[in-house]
Each structure stands twice: as C-alpha cells, then as structure tokens.
C-alpha cells in the first residue's frame, strides 16, 4: 500500500481513538494526518513519473503547501468549464480547507476540536482521494499538477 493510503488509514485510527477516549491530541493528529495523506498522494502522483527513483523524494520536497493551494485552476473556456475542471477546482478548494484545519490542529492550542471537525477532515480527504484518482490522467489535471509544482502556465 502506498504511503498516502497508509496515512489515511492512520488518520481513521486516530479519529476513532480520539473519539472513544475523548483525547484531543489524537483528534488533532487525525486532522493533520488526513491532510498529509492528501499532500503525499498528490506529490507522489507527480514524482512517480520522474525516471530516477533515488531523486523522487528530493523532487517531492520542492512542493510547497501554499503553492499547492493557491495555484488557480485554469478553465479551457472561461465560462464553460468541463466536468473535469469543475472537479479539479472542488478538489483544490477542499485541499485549502484541509490545509487550514491542519494548520490549526498543529499550532492553535486554543482550538477546541470536536468529533465533527475530525469527521469533516477524514471525509474530505477520502473524497479527494477518490475524485483525484478518477481524473488524475486527464490533461487538465496533469497540467494543474505541473503548475502546483511551480511551472509557469502557458498564457
């Protein structure tokens, strides 16, 4: 199983423990782990095509969280996005939400995390997994992934 899938499983286990033991640290780790599952899925999807396996980890470290969130989804036709482009836009929005929640989970000690916060993160991560994997080979997605990495768009 890939690292990203293991992380999503870990997030579920942490969520379960957090809820059954009412343990805030596990709830926070569940949210953070759900985000990193998505992060690694997307990064791995990019670097797996690099032909030199020993360089893939270094390549993956060039991705930045902010760039991944802020890269605008480009529509081929501004007023008539395709279903793939709409799905991609929704994935990027969900990624932004997860990223924000992960930041709070890791750094905002005042945040009173509830089970619904955790369930939202896990649900969102699982949805991103399935939706991304359904469209990952589409040209719009490959181009967006390249833009997330930092490549300039062709305007």
């Amino acid at each position: 199983m890939a690292l990203c899938d293991d992380l999503l499983d870990d997030a579920r286990h942490l969520a379960q423990r957090g809820s059954s033991e009412n343990r805030p640290s596990c709830k926070r780790r569940a949210i953070s782990t759900a985000y990193y599952a998505v992060f690694h899925m997307i990064v791995d999807d990019f670097v797996e095509h690099w032909p030199f396996p020993d360089q893939r980890a270094r390549l993956g470290r060039m991705f930045t969280h902010q760039k991944m969130r802020d890269t605008r989804v480009k529509f081929g036709h501004p007023h008539k996005p395709t279903t793939v482009e709409i799905a991609l836009k929704e994935i990027v929005s969900a990624l932004g939400q997860l990223q924000k929640d992960r930041h709070r989970a890791d750094y905002d000690a005042g945040w009173q995390v509830v089970d619904t916060d955790v369930a939202q993160a896990i649900t969102s991560a699982a949805d991103i997994f399935s939706r991304w994997r359904a469209i990952r080979n589409e040209e719009a997605v490959r181009n967006h992934l390249l833009s997330m990495f930092g490549a300039k768009t062709e305007d």
């Binding site: 509830v114 089970d115 619904t116 649900t123 969102s124």
Partner: protein, 103 residues
C-alpha cells in the same frame, strides 16, 4: 491597508446565509462567519455552521457538500477577494462548548 470587498458586502453575505439556512433546514441550524486573514496571510471568510445532531452524525458528507455548494452558488468569493473556509459542529457539541462565536 488592503481590505477585500467582502468587508463591504456583509448585507449580501447575510442575505445569502439566511437563504441557505432556510433551504437546508432542519439539517442546518445556523451559520456565523468572520472575515480575516488565514494562516498564510490570505484574506478569507470563515463560516461556522451548526448542524442538527442527526445530520452531523449520519449525513455529514452530504450536508457539507450542500452547504459549501449553496454558499458558493450565491456568493462570488473570488470576486469578493476571499477564500471560503467552512467548519461544522453539531448542536450537542456547541452546547457542551458554549463558544460565543458559534452561538
């Protein structure tokens, strides 16, 4: 200092929220929000959505999709210069925490 146009459109935002709550009742009990900067310094609108216990427990995925979609249909977030964030909690969770920002 730069302020996003969302700051001046609070009536529009309030009206949209009222419509969404009415449309998605009884799953959605109320929606509160703030406008501010997020962890990266980007302007954002932070929605806090209180859900019925039943919808939070049994239909969270669908309710989240409905709330996020209904707000996006009515409010042009990019045009307002903000990124939308949505957080949810159940009536019971809010009753236990008693956080004013969610009341």
């Amino acid at each position: 200092m730069y302020l996003p146009s969302a700051v001046t459109k609070q009536q529009e935002i309030d009206a949209a929220i009222s419509q969404v709550v009415a449309e998605l009742s009884p799953d959605v009990i109320r929606i509160r929000y703030d406008i501010g900067e997020d962890w990266s310094g980007q302007w954002a609108i932070f929605f806090r959505v209180v859900l019925s216990d039943d919808s939070a427990r049994r239909r969270l995925r669908d309710v989240i999709t409905n709330v996020v979609g209904a707000l996006a249909d009515r409010l042009d977030f990019p045009g307002m210069g903000v990124f939308p964030y949505h957080n949810f909690r159940s009536v019971s969770e809010q009753a236990a925490l008693q956080e004013e920002a969610w009341a």
